[in-house]
């Protein structure tokens, strides 16, 4: 079963009138997108001076993400490739200006004028070749190059993305770096398959103090399940990317799972009706190192 919309059809076809309406009338989606945008705005780390900024919302869709920007008093320009999504945004009378455009063709915006950019659940679309003329690498290059140019020096771009796999994330990040961005990936709730969320946090300009990648949420070395109650929202850590994640932390995570914990988990899975191997004396034993 593939639930990834990116694999079903090009965005402007997938988000047709029916889908755009369905998307924007789901209270679950509205809530999730608001949360993601709130977090992205937080990661943008705009100066805390109450001055409204000019922001971009890339893949703005029906304006769910932009609404979060408006609520914080900012002005924004939204870009989306789906006519139907933008129509819904019009109906909802969003405050930002809307553009019909394809981020893969590059952004036609003057240099240095934008104070920050967010993109919520959209950039992974660029990794697909939806037309014979599409070459994902060229499209990523055009997108990041033009984004870099239009941002003011020191400004940030924060993208919440759903990469299909590690390679896709590295591909996106690689093109961002090549365009000149500094930064990396922040992962919130890295151990929860349900709540895990990835953000690319990119800073325009040479590396400096404020290009350091902020901390992810919900990393406490203990929880490694979807058990939401065991996650500590306050506890955060720096996650640059899995590849560069400190060894030590991965070990701590392992130590946290004792036999008791595993038995409890297995019981939970059984209750959910999953097929789980029986509990034996081998359960939770450490495997012998083979080599």
């Amino acid at each position: 079963m593939s639930s990834r919309p990116e694999l079903q059809a090009p965005p402007e076809i997938f988000y047709d009138d029916v889908e755009a309406r369905k998307y924007t009338s789901s209270s679950r989606i509205i809530e999730i997108q608001a949360q993601l945008s709130g977090r992205a705005l937080e990661l943008l780390a705009l100066p805390d001076d109450g001055v409204p900024r000019l922001l971009l919302d890339i893949g703005c869709g029906s304006g769910l993400s932009g609404e979060t920007l408006s609520e914080s008093g900012h002005q924004w320009i939204g870009l989306d490739i789906s006519h139907s999504m933008l129509d819904v945004a019009l109906e909802r009378e969003v405050e930002g200006d809307l553009l019909l455009g394809d981020m893969g063709q590059g952004l036609g915006i003057r240099p240095g004028v934008i104070d920050g950019a967010i993109s919520i659940s959209a950039v992974q679309w660029l990794c697909n070749a939806d037309k014979s003329s599409h070459e994902p690498r060229l499209r990523l290059k055009a997108f990041f190059g033009s984004l870099y140019r239009c941002l003011a020096r020191g400004a940030r771009a924060v993208f919440q993305v759903y990469p299909e796999n590690l390679a896709q994330r590295e591909l996106i990040l690689g093109f961002a770096m090549r365009a000149g961005f500094a930064g990396g990936v922040v992962i919130d709730f890295p151990h929860s398959t349900k709540r895990r969320k990835e953000y690319l946090v990119l800073t325009c300009g040479p590396p400096s103090v404020n290009t350091a990648v902020p901390k992810g949420k919900g990393e406490d070395g203990e929880s490694c399940s979807d058990d939401e109650s065991s996650e500590d929202e306050e506890n955060r850590m720096v996650c640059i990317s899995d590849r560069r994640r400190p060894r030590k932390l991965q070990k701590i995570t392992k130590k946290g799972k004792g036999r008791e914990w595993i038995l409890k988990k297995k019981e939970q899975m059984r209750r959910k009706g999953n097929v789980v191997p029986p509990d034996t004396k081998y359960t939770a034993r450490k495997r012998k190192s083979r080599f």
Binding site: L54, D97, L100, G101, D102, L107, K131
Partner: protein, 122 residues
């Protein structure tokens, strides 16, 4: 689309070296009231291409912006009100944006410019 956005947009067609400012073709313009925020205006002032804003606002029928500006004008409430009106309250609703170099027409419908490029323009 507000003139704020018009002032940021530039033609992105392959080979175009100076795609700014896009010419306005106005079929229908509307006004929408927006909360006045001095901080935002001051933040934007340095980024705005003033001549393009003046020309665009005149094309939309608003003639009160001065041709020349200087930073001290940011202390004048009267100036800020005009700047605010031109930047945020005038909308191009129907019409088009025209690339100054190639005359390519980007249609604007229901206030949304269609900036999608044809394959040979990328």
């Amino acid at each position: 689309m507000r003139l704020l956005t018009h002032n940021m947009l530039s033609s992105n067609i392959k080979g175009v070296t100076n795609g700014f400012p896009l010419r306005l073709e106005i079929e229908k313009a509307v006004e929408k009231q927006v909360d006045f925020n001095v901080d935002f205006l001051k933040n934007m002032f340095v980024k705005i291409e003033w001549k393009a804003l003046v020309d665009a606002s005149r094309a939309m029928g608003y003639v009160d912006l001065p041709d020349q500006t200087e930073p001290s004008m940011l202390d004048s409430d009267e100036f800020l009100k005009k700047f605010h009106h031109a930047l945020l309250e005038l909308h191009l609703e129907e019409g088009a944006l025209i690339c100054p170099e190639t005359d390519r027409r980007f249609p604007v419908n229901k206030g949304i410019p269609n900036m999608l490029l044809h394959e040979d323009e990328v």
